[in-house]
């Protein structure tokens, strides 16, 4: 495989590198303990502290990958990346997934790629890490709720996987599906815990979006395999779209002819579209999308509100995909 030019895909804003956060694991663990202890205070924090001795923390393992050449932006500390998650299969509060997902089983795993393609394949757990060369990509991650993070993902381009299965001419869209396992995912068992969503969670991309070099299938972050709250063992990362497009814990990828249904669009079609491109000009009906709060270090007083960029700042790489489209209509 040809080495990829990282500078093209990676973060390149002129902000200070926070190398310390990235490297100092002990500090991360320490602050994680604080997060655990202080979440007693958070309203409705239940049974907290998956960090403490009576509950086992999911074990991640180090990965071999080609590191991103430079870190240009302030990274969100690992402790925050893995404790502030929207993964309603494990509960709707931001700290629920980190609390409820620690015993999630990722091995064995089956990821089936099928549909309109010449060579459908099925990847098992080990295949996820060995079929393609892994590389690090540092992306901005913009949630539709108007907060954002900067995360060092590890994975491979979805385009490589697609190349392998050889889509037919009828493959116009790619549909994704999260694991459905109510035994392991309390949110799928109870509508109350799962926020009233009909599971399994489904997402989709247009084939050209899926083939864009930015679109990543991630199997790790911060140098290690993904923790379950971040979508272990494999998840999508589409950095120019709102976070809910980046579906977690994927078991099925299907090439299809028609635009596939997507979970949040089904739930509230006036608020969440199929495309969900980050767009400061198109507000959510209930809040502005013009700016966002960037979650890094710093407490309440951190001045972290930054302007939201069209396509989350990746317009150069993806704006051409939507050249003739009215992005107000196709939000």
């Amino acid at each position: 495989m040809k080495p990829v030019k990282y500078s093209k895909y990676n973060e390149s804003e002129n902000q200070v590198t926070d190398e310390k956060i990235y490297r100092d694991r002990r500090q991360v663990l320490k602050s994680l303990g604080f997060v655990g202890a202080s979440s007693i205070l958070a309203p409705y924090a239940h049974g907290i502290d998956w960090f403490s001795s009576n509950k086992k923390t999911f074990e991640t393992s180090p990965l071999k990958y080609q590191a991103a050449s430079s870190i240009a932006d302030t990274l969100t500390p690992e402790a925050k990346v893995i404790s502030h998650n929207n993964f309603y299969e494990f509960g709707t509060a931001k700290n629920d997934p980190a609390e409820n997902a620690q015993s999630f089983k990722v091995d064995p795993w089956t990821l089936e790629i099928s549909g309109e393609c010449e060579k459908p394949i099925t990847l098992n757990y080990d295949d996820l890490f060995t079929t393609f060369d892994l590389q690090e990509r540092i992306y901005r991650f913009r949630c539709v709720e108007a907060w954002s993070m900067v995360i060092p993902w590890i994975g491979f381009q979805l385009s490589e996987l697609l190349k392998k299965v050889q889509p037919t001419s009828r493959a116009k869209y790619v549909a994704f599906e999260t694991l459905f396992d109510p035994q392991q995912m309390p949110g799928q068992k109870s509508r109350r815990i799962g926020g009233g969503i009909d599971y399994p969670y489904v997402e989709g991309l247009r084939i050209d979006e899926a083939q864009n070099p930015l679109t990543l299938l991630s199997v790790g972050l911060y140098g290690k395999t993904l923790p379950p709250q971040n979508g272990a063992p494999i998840r999508l990362v589409v950095p120019w779209k709102y976070g809910f497009k980046s579906i977690k814990s994927i078991v099925k990828i299907k090439l299809v002819e028609k635009m596939p249904p997507t979970t949040w669009n089904i739930l509230a079609p006036n608020e969440y579209g199929f495309y969900a491109n980050v767009n400061p000009q198109v507000d959510h009906p209930r809040w502005s999308q013009a700016s966002e709060r960037r979650i890094t270090t710093g407490g309440l007083l951190a001045r972290n509100r930054v302007a939201t960029l069209p396509f989350n700042g990746y317009g150069e790489q993806v704006a051409h995909l939507y050249k003739s489209m009215d992005l107000r209509k196709f939000y």
């Binding site: 602050s31 604080f34 997060v35 202890a37 202080s38 979440s39 205070l41 958070a42 309203p43 409705y44 969100t76 402790a79 925050k80 990346v81 404790s83 502030h84 309603y88 709707t92 931001k94 700290n95 709720e145 907060w147 109350r192 926020g195 009233g196 969503i197 739930l267 509230a268 507000d283 209930r286 809040w287 502005s288 013009a290 700016s291 709060r293 979650i295 270090t297 710093g298 407490g299 309440l300 007083l301 951190a302 001045r303 972290n304 509100r305």
Partner: protein, 195 residues
């Protein structure tokens, strides 16, 4: 224990509880020890806290009537004032930490986002009630005081709507609040029917 002692003790508990929790919350938030997004945590805590305290203040008069605990009336104002204090912290935190002093964005959000408008109306009602809660003013206002303070029912209803509207998809919690609210208002149905 004399009633005076009971009042004194209950007031102390209310002070310790209300001030303690909010101080701890802000202390942890300032030190980045309140989850990944301390702003969201603080907004949620103060908002829900204000609603809880306001509902608690509305439990008092049914309790007094039912169990003839007239001394309990003496702590109602304190609960109401703390509800206002939490709401004030909620609004100020929204402006200072969420909006980060961006005046134009603040007004844009208030005008364009109905759930925020509703929340602000509720807050202004609470402010009017808090200002007129001084015994001196109460005495001066005579009968119109009770009339004004009946607006608390609108304030709490708007606050619960504000909560319901702000939630992304899981509506269980706001619905539980609605049920509690309806029960508390049903104790006062005579008040509404008479009008």
């Amino acid at each position: 224990m004399s009633n005076q002692h009971k009042i004194w003790l209950l007031k102390l508990i209310i002070h310790l509880f209300s001030m303690g929790l909010i101080s701890l919350t802000y202390f942890n938030a300032l030190n980045d020890n309140l989850g990944a997004d301390p702003v969201e945590a603080v907004l949620h805590f103060t908002g829900i806290g204000a609603i809880n305290l306001l509902l608690l203040s509305l439990v008092i008069s049914p309790l007094v009537r039912q169990w003839k605990l007239s001394w309990l009336m003496q702590v109602r104002r304190l609960l109401g004032l703390y509800a206002f204090f939490y709401a004030l912290c909620h609004v100020l935190s929204f402006w200072a930490f969420e909006i980060q002093f961006n005046v134009s964005l603040f007004f844009e959000e208030i005008i364009e986002r109905p759930y925020i408008t509703v929340g602000l109306v509720s807050f202004m009602l609470l402010m009017a009630l808090a200002i007129t809660s001084w015994s001196k003013i109460k005495r001066k206002m005579g009968k119109s005081w009770q009339k004004l303070h009946n607006w608390v029912y609108l304030a709490i209803t708007l606050a619960v709507i504000h909560f319901y509207w702000s939630v992304k998809s899981d509506l269980t919690e706001p619905l539980i609040y609605f049920i509690i609210l309806v029960v508390l208002l049903s104790f006062r149905k005579n008040k509404f029917i008479r009008k």
